[in-house]
Symmetry: C2
Subunit: 214 residues, 2 copies
């Protein structure tokens, strides 16, 4: 089981933005949208948009563009966003709560069936409609809920131990929002989200403008 490497990762990362724009066109009643328009909207090169859209298999019509309906369906299918994915969330703090309530994820098939926390004040209640269970019951609960994805928003020191519990419970994919590099078996899919890396980019841009950096 080699670590899953994605081809066209940069293209895949751009697909959600395309989807967003194309859905807007759909709501506006358009039947076709051109790569040129999408590019303009996102400050990208038209050729890049065309190349990216090619991976979905949809073919456009010269002069008109891509069929909106089919394109939305194709992107969603390519990403697997046309199916429901059961998920649990670990650590219902501020970030965790924000993710539980993030409307867009529901649109993308991500369905939270439960969240876990250690705070007795939260356990037994709901956040954004999702029941909060005790962290002690994680392993059993995940097994019976048959959740596929775990969103990890616990404090960093607990990240590794929690991940190990998740793996024992049969979780296949972990979306890791902690700044801990998880050490798990090769066949577990892990996507790490690092807020600091975006801030690093912003910081360097600021340095450049200030002339402190070339």
């Amino acid at each position: 089981m080699p670590k899953t490497k994605i081809s066209y990762a940069p293209s895949v990362r751009r697909l959600p933005s395309y989807l967003h724009i194309i859905r807007q066109a759909q709501r506006a009643g358009d039947y076709y949208i051109s790569g040129t328009v999408i590019a303009q909207e996102l400050n990208l090169e038209p050729i890049q948009v065309r190349k990216d859209l090619a991976i979905t298999g949809i073919i456009g019509k010269p002069k008109k563009g891509y069929p909106v309906e089919a394109l939305v369906a194709a992107i969603e299918h390519y990403l697997g966003w046309d199916e429901i994915h059961e998920a649990v969330l670990l650590g219902a703090g501020n970030l965790g709560s924000a993710l539980l309530g993030y409307q867009e994820f529901q649109l993308h098939g991500l369905h939270f069936v439960a969240a876990f926390d250690t705070d007795p004040g939260k356990i037994g209640g709901h956040i954004h409609g999702v029941p909060i269970l005790s962290m002690d019951t994680v392993e059993q609960a995940i097994k019976s809920l048959k959740a596929e994805i775990a969103v990890l928003t616990v404090p960093s020191p607990q990240a590794q131990a929690t991940a190990e519990t998740l793996v024992r419970a049969g979780i296949a994919s972990i979306w890791n929002f902690t700044n801990t590099k998880l050490k798990v078996a090769d066949d577990i899919i892990v996507q790490r989200e690092d807020l600091s890396s975006g801030y690093a980019l912003l910081s360097v841009m600021m340095q450049k403008v200030k002339g402190r950096l070339e």
Copy 2:
């Protein structure tokens, strides 16, 4: 004023992870850390770590590695994280509150001087020690606070209008957490954080494992 393009962007994105590891070594009392060790810790190739660290200007010692103290300082300086950056946050909802309380940012020189919201129940209070002001006072407040960075966590429909206010108020950099592509002048630095793009990557990895995709 051309849009700021970063050279070595992928390397810059990795620097915060390096910094995290190196700081751990520092706390453990180590004077040197090798690229090999950092690579191991992060599942990267040693050569990649060496190349990345080269941009900070620090030179290592064969056999020992890089001087921890100097390396931490060099990375922080390169990123401008050795200076305080005054920031405001727009939209103190769940995500906004999470960012206000994100400890690590303080370590990186990001200092929230105020947050703005439309909720009368929040205005006048504090979240994670940061005063919440009325959204109506944004322009004046930012001018007098002399904030440099704005973190944008308002609902998407308000994103563009809010950004325009921020620009009028003299904000130089916007860290945009909405899924709206902001249309602002070229000399405004914008870093967009798109949660969906990470989820797209996770989704495609899952598809691959399921054999639904090659």
